[in-house]
């Protein structure tokens, strides 16, 4: 934002840091970057779910005017490692001998323009020998199922903490397994009054970020420059370094604004291919996908969850066994993390005497699954909060009271060795219960009404991580913040520049967020796990306070007074007679070209082997949901009349940002609950291949009424007790709707999405 007069304080305080860039269409996004001589790369993808590549004939395409080159699996020479993936490196830069999902990359065309590239792709002839597709978890685990991979891959073992075992590729078509065993569960179950086992099926949705996936690579004499819509520039730099066998500093990664990601733009994707093409073409290459293709890049995990939960005669929860199989799709990506977290998080916000969790990620010949906002917590919360409600009804307790008496209170560890719960879960339950507007309808007639609640939960900020930042102030008092939190829409730059403005006591317009460039940006582990406010925020806060102290100390030294009597305001020293303007002061001290005072901040959270994840989780991220709805027993339609959701921001640093995270996630989750889904048809072909087929929430899909609230419980680890809220919105919605549907109809829905067909089938089944 330009340095504008304080003509509208209120607006500038409420405005996001990126407001002008975005409402005026300024950007820049990666697609706005144009390099001289830039070529266009487009990808030829497999039309088959599973096939052997017998032959690829690229000669006709290569002979076309305007085609610079066609790359296939035969052209991976410059790569030392030709596959990528988190923990397990199994995804080929370009397929060499086999395709493993509809959309797998078979060839890349580099041409002078997009039209030529598309025409050239039509002239590439690929002969396939079809292999049997493996479209879901059941098919993949069948003893006669074809192996999707014939051998194991280079991998990084996931070492976690106490009572935990993990394995990469432990069995045919199993990518990863996780086991956590806390307490003597057989003994606890033997003493229980009730033991309930329930099964749930979680569906799969796409990220559907509005900015299609894009990357630009340029070969310079002794390095590669890269611009990508990737939220992990340093992680990407490391991947590229390992894959090409070149030093990390060979790669310079820059990041513009990212047009949404929701997990889909994390970790290495097709950047190595863009780099390879730029090397082969010896020219700048832009690899730009359509939105259809972006949907083929990654998805959420669908899965089956089985929970066995025991309670005593007083409605006290005793133990839970969690069994989860997640559909990881064709390649690993970040599936292992999702699998581990889904299992651990399925205990919900409740106290247990024993908790055992086992999860597996299963390979199928479908879109690779990976990070998705909620990261296993969404699947876990759906199953857990559904079953908690079911058990309450079975034992004749009010579902809210049942939750209340089993919650982990604030200040108690989530599990032995893990961090203390930093949220009063019951306060949010009180709030949704009080705020929900529900009118009980007549139980007769086709349309019946019900209400339901849920308390979704995910840990936030991940564990054992670090944050780093530099704050600089120029001679004229304007501020530049350097840190690696990527602005992907979540408002990271607003929170961070706001923190710095408050500490240095300058108008927000004076603080600029530095461009992201791995050459100069302080190292960062990636903008993940709703960590920008807490992790990077703490580093920035530390740097800003250090800088403030240094400025005041410097002034105190020159003035010969006590630093504690001085204050800083709009680049003036206050407290020593007349306000002292710092600009002439700095020039006097450092010369006529002035100076840049700066300070660094660094935070690192330690590893702790006694914690179940090998380090404590940074904070806890609840999502409280209340819903009032009606179910039409003749059409199967669910109508949401009133929706209330809430999050705990700890301490709100930007109200619009917090609200936007909750509501934005909530509406995506509501769409997933009611209709949105990635599906394949009977021929094993993607049934929703384009944005026209794939239905996402639009304005008309909003509930009749929707109110969100923000609690500020002040217990977060971030600045002033702040914590992240970025994934909360995904967590509680599906279970709350399922709970309300049971309240309305007496029938339990356990398989997402709750389409009219499924509602009618469940009602019919209940009548029989």
């Amino acid at each position: 934002m330009p340095d504008s007069p304080r003509q509208n304080r209120e607006l500038s305080d409420r405005a996001r840091q990126d407001a002008r860039d975005k409402v005026s269409g300024e950007g820049p996004f990666t697609g706005d970057i144009v390099l001289p001589g830039m070529l266009e790369a487009r990808l030829l993808r497999s039309p088959h779910a599973h096939a052997r590549i017998v032959d690829i004939d690229t000669s006709k395409a290569e002979a076309m005017d305007g085609v610079r080159l066609v790359a296939t699996g035969r052209d991976l020479g410059p790569l030392k490692r030709t596959t990528y993936g988190n923990w397990v490196h199994d995804q080929p830069v370009i397929c060499t001998d086999r395709v493993r999902f509809e959309g797998d990359v078979v060839a890349a065309v580099v041409a002078v323009d997009e039209v030529t590239a598309f025409r050239a792709m039509e002239r590439i002839h690929v002969s396939y020998q079809l292999l049997p597709p493996v479209m879901d978890i059941g098919a993949a685990l069948h003893e006669d199922a074809p192996a999707i991979f014939d051998q194991k891959h280079p991998n990084v073992p996931m070492k976690l903490g106490r009572d935990t075992r993990t394995a990469n590729e432990p069995a045919k078509n199993v990518l990863f397994s996780y086991d956590f065993e806390d307490g003597d569960i057989d003994a606890v179950e033997a003493e229980a009054a009730h033991v309930f086992t329930d099964r749930f099926h979680f569906s799969r949705i796409g990220h559907f970020y509005m900015e299609p996936w894009i990357c630009i690579a340029r070969q310079l004499t002794d390095r590669i420059e890269l611009w990508s819509c990737n939220q992990d520039p340093f992680v990407l730099r490391q991947d590229l370094s390992e894959m090409f066998g070149l030093p990390e500093g060979y790669f310079r990664v820059q990041t513009a604004y990212i047009g949404g990601g929701f997990g889909g733009k994390s970790y290495c994707k097709h950047e190595p291919l863009a780099v390879l093409l730029a090397m082969l073409a010896n020219a700048p290459v832009r690899l730009l996908m359509t939105l259809d293709e972006s949907m083929l890049t990654l998805s959420q995990h669908d899965g089956d969850l089985v929970l066995t939960t025991s309670v005593d005669a007083n409605g006290r929860l005793l133990s839970r066994r969690t069994e989860i199989d997640l559909n990881g799709g064709a390649y690993a990506d970040a599936s292992a993390q999702v699998g581990a977290r889904a299992a651990y998080r399925s205990s919900g916000p409740y106290r247990w005497q024993a908790y055992h969790a086992h999860s597996r990620v299963i390979r199928t010949t479908t879109i690779p699954a990976g990070s998705y906002r909620g990261m296993g917590g969404t699947q876990a919360s759906f199953a857990s909060e559904s079953q908690i409600d079911m058990i309450a009804r079975r034992i004749g307790m009010d579902p809210i009271d049942f939750r209340r008496q089993n919650l982990i209170p604030a200040g108690e560890p989530f599990k032995v060795g893990d961090s203390l719960v930093d949220t009063d879960f019951s306060e949010g339950l009180d709030r949704v219960e009080a705020d929900l507007r529900h009118v009980a309808g007549s139980p007769d007639g086709p349309v019946v009404r019900g209400k339901g609640y849920a308390l979704g939960l995910k840990d936030g900020g991940s564990f054992g991580r670090l944050g780093k930042a530099t704050v600089k102030i120029t001679t004229d008092g304007r501020v530049l913040v350097l840190c690696g939190a990527i602005e992907i829409g979540q408002g990271a730059t607003t929170v961070i520049t706001g923190l710095v403005a408050d500490v240095l006591n300058v108008p927000r317009e004076w603080v600029r967020y530095a461009a992201i460039d791995t050459d100069v940006t302080p190292f960062d582990q990636g903008t993940h796990a709703s960590c920008a406010t807490t992790l990077t925020g703490n580093a920035v806060w530390l740097a800003a306070r250090k800088l403030r102290g240094e400025i005041i100390d410097m002034a105190a030294g020159e003035l010969g007074c006590d630093a504690t009597t001085l204050d800083l305001r709009e680049w003036k020293i206050i407290g020593a007679g007349q306000p002292l303007d710092l600009e002439p002061f700095v020039r006097k001290k450092f010369g006529r070209f002035g100076f840049e005072l700066s300070a660094d901040g660094f935070v690192q959270y330690p590893k702790e082997p006694d914690a179940p994840f090998g380090a404590k989780h940074l904070y806890w991220m609840p999502h409280w949901v209340g819903v009032s709805l009606s179910v039409d027993r003749e059409t199967g339609e669910i109508r949401i009349h009133d929706l209330v959701t809430g999050v705990d921001a700890g301490h709100t640093l930007h109200g619009g940002g917090v609200r936007g995270q909750d509501e934005g996630g909530t509406i995506v989750a509501l769409a997933q609950t009611l209709f949105e889904e990635i599906t394949y048809d009977e021929e094993d072909v993607l049934a929703v291949p384009t944005p026209l087929d794939y239905r996402v929430a639009r304005a008309s899909d909003l509930p009749e009424q929707y109110r969100s609230f923000i609690l500020e419980q002040g217990m977060g680890p971030g600045p002033m007790g702040a914590k992240g809220v970025g994934e909360a919105g995904m967590l509680g919605v599906a279970a709350a709707v399922a709970n309300a549907v049971e309240d309305a109809t007496g029938v339990r829905l356990t398989s997402l999405p709750f389409t009219p067909e499924k509602v009618l089938a469940a009602l019919d089944a209940a009548e029989e």
Partner: protein, 170 residues
Amino acid sequence: MSDLIGLRFRLNGIERVAAVAPSMMLAELLREQLGQIDVRVSCDQGVCGVCTVLVEGTPTTSCLTPAFLVANRDVVTVKGLSGDATGLTDVQRAFIECSAFQCGYCTPGMVLSATALLAEHPAPDRQTIRDWLDANVCRCTGYQVIIEAIELAASRRQEQATTRIAEAAD
């Protein structure tokens, strides 16, 4: 190049001439040929509304509109909206105040749809706003803040109109 069509139109108030292939879409003309980078494309199939521009004041999906169809017409992109001294329109200011955007990729299209909506319905009810916004997908916000921004802009216009009438009566 006999297959190109000569074209004269107004882009953000300035007369432009271009030569376009019959198959060239308006989005490509604006963005690639004329450097109007605030026109961005997402689905490229007329489904998402990201590439919305105003043609004679009507929200138009530029990725599916052949460029030659805007001959002699008035085309406005988000950068062509005429704002106040700060360069912003009341709609854009309302979007800022309500944090009615996150990633910002759909925002130019949203702002233009909202602008056209208020031109046609100065005091739209919530249903009308929802109906109009159905042409634009936002994956970040959940829409409610966008609806509130439009309501805020509308109510301010009503206030100003009332004030003007009151002043005229004095």
